[in-house]
Amino acid sequence: MNLASTILIDGLTYASWLFIVALGLTLVFGVLKILNIAHGSFYALGAYAAASFVGWFATLKFAPAWSIVALLLAAVAVAALVAPLTERGLLRFFYGRDEVLLVLVTYALFLILEDVTKLVWGANPYYVSAPYGLFGNVEIGPQVYVGYDFVLVGLALVIGAAVWWGLNRTRQGKIVLAVIHSEEVAASMGINVSRVYMLAFSIGIFLAAIGGAFTAPMISVQPGVSVGVIIVSFAVVIIGGLGSIEGAAVGALIVGLARSLAVHLAPVAELFSIYIVMAAVLMVRPEGLFQQTQARKI
C-alpha cells in the first residue's frame, strides 16, 4: 500500500511538471502547426531568468516569500521579450512550408539558444534555493515530501484550468480554437490569423518559461537542461495527440505514472520507459490518443 501511494504521488508530481512543460508545446503545434524543438530552450531561458530574478530580489532584500513572484516575473519577462522576436523575426519566414522543415528551423533555433544562454549566463550552474524551502515538508504516511513539489501540482491544475477556460469561455479563446480547426476558413471570416499566431506562440513560450522558472529551485540550472526536457515533452505531446490540451494532461499522467512505476519497480527501465510508451502509442494510435485519424488526401 505504501509503495502504491509512493508510486502514485511520485507519478503525480512528475506528471504535473510534464503537463506544464508540454502544454505550451501542444498549444504551439495546434495553432501554428510547428513542432517546436526549441521549446526546451525556452524552458531553460525561464529557468535561467528565474535564477537571475530571484537573485535580484534577494539583493534587494525582499522577504523569501517574494521569490515566488520573482519566478512569475521571470516567466513573463521571457515570454514578453523572446516571443515577438522569435515569431516575427524568424518563424514568420517559414510559415506554410513543410512541417518537417519547420522542425529543422526550430532545431536550428535550439542550437542558437543553447549558445546564447551560455553567453548570457555563463557555463556555471545556478542554484535557486530561496523558493524551495518556503513550503516546508509534508508527511504522507512514512514518506516525507517537500511541500514545493505539491505547489507544482497545484500550479499544473491552475494552469490547466486557466488555459481551458481561456480557450473555451472567452471570445479570444474561441477565435484561437477556430484557427486551430482551420486557419484558412478563419482568415476568410475576418480573423487576424497572424495576431492569433503571435498570441498562441507567446502563451506557448510563457508556459515553457513558467515551467522552467518553477522547476529552477528543484534542479541546478546549467547548460544542457533543455535537451532532456525537449525529448520528454515530445513524448507527452505525441502520446496525447498534437494540439490537444486534454491529450497533454492525459499524456502527462501516463508518462508520469510510467516513469514512476519504472523508477520504483524496474529501475533499469527508467530511462527508456517513456519512449517505449511513446512508441507503443504511436504504433497503436499513430495520431495520439485524442486525435481523429486523418484520412489521406490526394
Binding site: L35, L90, F93, F94, Y95, G96, R97, D98, E99, V100, L101, V103, L104, V105, Y107, A108, L109, F110, L111, I112, E114, D115, V116, K118, L119, V227, I231, F234, A235, I238, L242, V268, A269, E270, L271, F272, S273, Y275, I276, M278, A279, L282, M283, P286, E287, R296, I298
Partner: protein, 338 residues
C-alpha cells in the same frame, strides 16, 4: 491548392542516365577516390582524421538522404549508427574479429538485421510521426545502452587497433590506412547509392515523395519501397558507425542520442536529396566548421551551426546538391511557400 497544379505533371526530375554516362559516373567516382587516396598520403594527420570522420558520418547521412528521397525524415538514424558501432566494437573485443573491412560490413549487416522487424511498421508513417517514432526507437536504445553495465553503461568502452587484410598496423600507418579503408568503403557505397537512385526503385521513391496515392494507383508498392529504403539506410548507417568506432577507438551510448541524430539530419538537409557527392561535401563542411569552431570560438560553435542551418533552409531549401543538379519544369515550384 497551388501545389497540386504545379505538380500536375508528375515530373521525374532526372532522366535515367544513358549507359555512357553511367560508365562516366563510375570512372569519375574511381578517379575521385584515387585522388583522395593519393592526397591522403600528403595530408597532415589532423586532416586525414577529419576526412575519415567526415566520410563515415557522411555514410550515415547518406542513409537519411535515401529516406528523404521517399519523403520522410528520420530523426533516429543514431539508432543504426550506434548498433553498427557497438556490433563492430563487440565483435572486436568479444569475438576477436579484427579485420577492418570485415567489421565494417558486419556493422552494416547487424544494423540492418536489427531494424528489419521494424521496417514494415515504420513504412506506414510519414512526416512528424515517422520522425518521432524513429526518435523514440533511438532513445529507447540509448536508455537500454546506458543501463547495460556489461556494455560499459554510460561510459561505453574502448576498442583497440584493427588489422587490415591480415596486416597489423604500425603507429605511423594506422591513420592513413583507416582513412583509406573509410574512403574506399564510402566510395563504394556512394556509387551503389547513385546507381540505386537512378534505378527504377530509386525513382519510385521520388514519385512517392511527390504523391504516394498516385503511385499506389499506378501499381507501385509504396510500403515496400519505404521499407526497403529504411533497411538500406540502416546498412549505410551501420557501416558508418563501424568505421567511426574503428577510427575513434571508443564507443558510448551517445551515438544513439537524439542530438547525434540531429547532426546527421543537419548534414542531410545541407546536402539535399539529389546528389550523393553533396552528402559527403556537406559532412566535410560540418566537420570543418565543428573543428575550427571548437578551436577558435568554443563558446559559439552551436550558434554558428544553427545560423548556418537557418541560412541553408531559407536560401538553399533543396540543399547544396541543388546547386549543380537542376530539376525539370513543373516540380521546381514544389518547395515554394504556398
Amino acid at each position: 491548392m497551388s501545389a497540386s497544379i504545379s505538380t500536375a505533371v508528375p515530373a521525374v526530375p532526372m532522366r535515367p542516365p544513358q549507359r555512357a554516362s553511367r560508365h562516366l559516373l563510375v570512372i569519375g567516382g574511381i578517379a575521385l577516390t584515387a585522388a583522395l587516396l593519393v592526397a591522403g598520403a600528403f595530408m597532415p594527420k589532423w586532416l586525414t582524421f577529419l576526412v575519415t570522420m567526415a566520410a563515415s558520418h557522411g555514410l550515415v547521412s547518406l542513409g537519411i538522404v535515401l529516406m528523404m528521397r521517399g519523403g520522410v525524415v528520420s530523426f533516429g538514424q543514431g539508432l543504426v549508427f550506434a548498433i553498427g558501432a557497438y556490433a563492430a566494437a563487440l565483435a572486436y573485443t568479444r569475438l576477436g574479429m579484427t579485420d577492418a573491412i570485415g567489421l565494417a560490413v558486419l556493422g552494416g549487416f547487424v544494423a540492418t538485421l536489427a531494424v528489419a522487424p521494424f521496417a514494415p511498421l515504420l513504412s506506414r508513417y510519414r512526416g512528424i510521426f515517422f520522425a518521432m517514432l524513429t526518435l523514440a526507437l533511438s532513445m529507447v536504445v540509448f536508455g537500454v545502452l546506458v543501463k547495460t553495465d556489461a556494455l560499459g553503461g554510460s561510459d561505453g568502452f574502448n576498442m583497440g587497433r584493427v588489422t587490415v587484410l591480415g596486416q597489423k598496423l604500425g603507429d605511423a600507418q594506422v591513420g592513413y590506412v583507416l582513412y583509406a579503408v573509410t574512403i574506399v568503403a564510402a566510395a563504394v557505397l556512394a556509387l551503389l547509392a547513385r546507381i540505386y537512385f537512378d534505378s527504377s526503385r530509386g525513382l519510385l521513391s521520388l514519385a512517392v515523395r511527390d504523391n504516394e496515392l498516385r503511385v499506389e494507383y499506378l501499381g507501385g508498392s509504396v510500403r515496400r519501397a519505404m521499407a526497403i529504403n529504411f533497411m538500406l539506410a540502416a546498412f549505410a548507417g551501420g557501416t558508418g558507425g563501424a568505421l567511426v568506432v574503428m577510427s575513434l577507438g571508443h564507443i558510448d551510448p551517445n551515438f544513439s542520442y537524439w542530438t547525434t541524430s540531429g547532426e546527421f539530419v543537419f548534414v542531410a538537409i545541407l546536402a539535399g536529396w539529389q546528389s550523393v557527392l553533396a552528402v559527403f561535401i556537406a559532412s566535410t563542411v560540418l566537420e570543418v566548421v565543428r573543428s575550427f569552431s571548437s578551436l577558435y570560438f568554443p563558446n559559439t560553435w552551436q550558434l554558428s551551426l544553427g545560423l548556418f542551418l537557418l541560412f541553408v533552409i531559407r536560401f538553399l531549401p533543396r540543399g547544396i546538391g541543388s546547386l549543380w543538379i537542376r530539376r525539370t519544369g513543373a516540380s521546381r515550384h514544389q518547395d515554394a511557400p504556398r
